[in-house]
Amino acid sequence: MNAALLETRGLCKSFGAIEVAREIDFRLERGARHALIGPNGAGKTTFVNLLSGLLRPSRGRVLLDGEDLTSLAQAKRVKRGIARTFQINQLFHGLTVLENVCIAVAERLGAGGSMLRPAGRRRDVLAEAVGLLETLRLEDDAGRRVHELPYGRQRLVEIAIALGLRPRVLLLDEPAAGIPSAESHIILAAIATLPRDIAVLIIEHDMDLVFRFAQRITVLVSGAIYAEGSPAEIAANRDVRAVYLGSAADA
């Protein structure tokens, strides 16, 4: 078996006496379309935070392409190729959509600290940011401030920023959360057009989206991996139906 692109070994995290991640051994293959599901409070976002470096694990390791990232801060992991979106938008709300994406692209190109030339002269940054907005059909909103946009459009800006980092691994934390169902197809379309070489891990409660998107599904319950397999295997798993799909159906 080839080495996975992103891998965790025995990953644990506790806040005081509460264990939110228990011995998680997880593999994300190259170009994967992988979904992480589980009931509320299962530790899905915590797991993404551990992968992205927002949180440090209590024990265990995070490896990208065999390199141990466990001790690296978030910003350094971004440079290695791990990008994420947040469950609740984390955008530069007072800036325009284009500026939001430009900041991400400039950082990736190592231009973010440059002091002498005006940002407007970095046409490479501008061109790439404009290209991303066009891919995500955001070009008409390019000059608007993010806080003026409807929430669904803001979710797309989250994705645009993450793509501006040209990640090898993209972690999407509930990309369709908070969006009216009439608009969620826009997010779906955006996810469907993600470059094939990016490995994507998506947390999502919308089972339609999960089963349409994922080639592999991991079920997390109480901070531990409960089941893992292809969508068909997970759908047929009676235990999973009991703890998750069943409870979701009841709710």
Binding site: F86, Q90, H93, V125, E139
Partner: protein, 336 residues
């Protein structure tokens, strides 16, 4: 710039690509500064104080307005610069003004770097307290080292050498001092303007707007903040040095909370995060203060206080913010 360039296909991209360009109205403050030299000769000493305050407020704008670093201790760097030229002139015979400014910038910048490296790991109230503490430590050090600094009395009757060895320079020469301050302000302004329109300045704005996201795009947030803080401290140090040179004295008030709070008020009054807020705020605040002090010698501070309360209540983003709101209202006559 041509529209055929693919990067500039969108209007928003053209706006962004042209934002750093100098607009015609940016000449106005400098023309006004030169006009004041010719038409208000009896106010030049006051004008020099205004220019110094503008420079100090501009340095604060870089950290507060752009990077979102809330500080109550910015006078630490103003005072460090002020004492640097004072000590050099009084004890080391280093009296040349221009090189004194460079020394002041270096000392204030070094203090900014050292303190910023530690305290910029914190945010919010902790940061506010630590900036205040930095200033208090410096002020008390200046107080205790009385044999060098004159302690509470400060250092009066400082003398400075002719500027560049040619232009006479002391309190009696306010004309040359005014022009000197104007040129120094201009040079520092050009530096700050360059920084805020560079990708560096954009990244500071990003940190102000959302520090969590800035980490998540891979930016070295702490390093950026420390650099901004250091540059800002150096410029504040230049302002302090100008103060000592123009007044021929330095005392503990240059390191005091009154001065730190005053510059904060000036910047908020003018509007922060927009470069020219420092200009408008300093002029408005100091002219108001002077007019009220002349009209009501005993109760003028009450008038300043009431005016500031009105600004805080009705013009949250300062005078520039008020102007923006007016312009928006005029542009959209149908809406209220």
């Amino acid at each position: 710039m041509s529209r055929s360039e693919p990067a500039l296909a969108l209007p928003a991209a053209r706006t962004l690509a042209a934002r750093h360009r100098v607009k015609w109205w940016e000449a106005l403050p400098w023309l006004a500064g030169i006009a004041a030299f010719f038409f208000l000769p009896s106010y030049l000493a006051f004008g020099t104080q205004v220019l110094i305050t503008i420079l100090f407020a501009l340095s604060l704008d870089l950290v507060l307005g752009y990077a979102g670093i809330v500080t109550l201790g910015h006078a630490a760097f103003f005072g460090a610069g002020a004492y640097t030229v004072g000590l050099l002139a009084a004890h080391f015979g280093w009296k040349e003004p221009l090189s004194g400014l460079v020394a002041a910038a270096a000392v204030a910048g070094a203090i900014g770097f050292a303190s910023g490296y530690v305290l910029l790991r914190t945010r919010g109230l902790a940061l506010l307290m630590l900036t205040l503490c930095t200033m208090a430590i410096l002020q008390e050090s200046a107080n205790v080292a009385a044999s060098y600094t004159g302690g509470f009395d400060g250092m009066p009757d400082l003398t400075f050498a002719p500027l560049l060895g040619i232009i006479p320079f002391d309190v009696l020469y306010f004309r040359s001092q005014y022009l000197y301050a104007l040129v120094v302000l201009f040079v520092c302004f050009v530096v700050v303007r360059m920084l805020v329109y560079a990708p560096f300045g954009q990244s500071l704005t990003g940190i102000r707007e959302n520090v969590l996201r800035m980490h998540a795009v891979g930016a070295p947030v702490h390093a950026r903040l420390v650099i901004a803080y250091t540059v800002s401290a150096a410029i504040a140090g230049v302002a302090g040095a100008l103060f000592t040179q123009a007044n021929a004295f330095v005392n503990l008030a240059t390191l005091g909370l009154d001065r730190a709070a005053g510059v904060l008020i000036v910047l908020i009054l003018g509007g922060y995060g927009r470069l020219y807020g420092a200009f408008v705020g300093a002029i408005a605040y100091m002219v108001l203060e002077r007019a009220l002090a002349n009209a009501y010698p005993t109760a003028w501070q009450l008038g300043v206080g009431l005016t500031l309360m009105a600004v805080a209540l009705f013009a949250r983003n300062g005078i520039f913010g008020l102007a923006d709101a007016l312009r928006r209202r005029l542009a959209a006559p149908g809406s209220k």
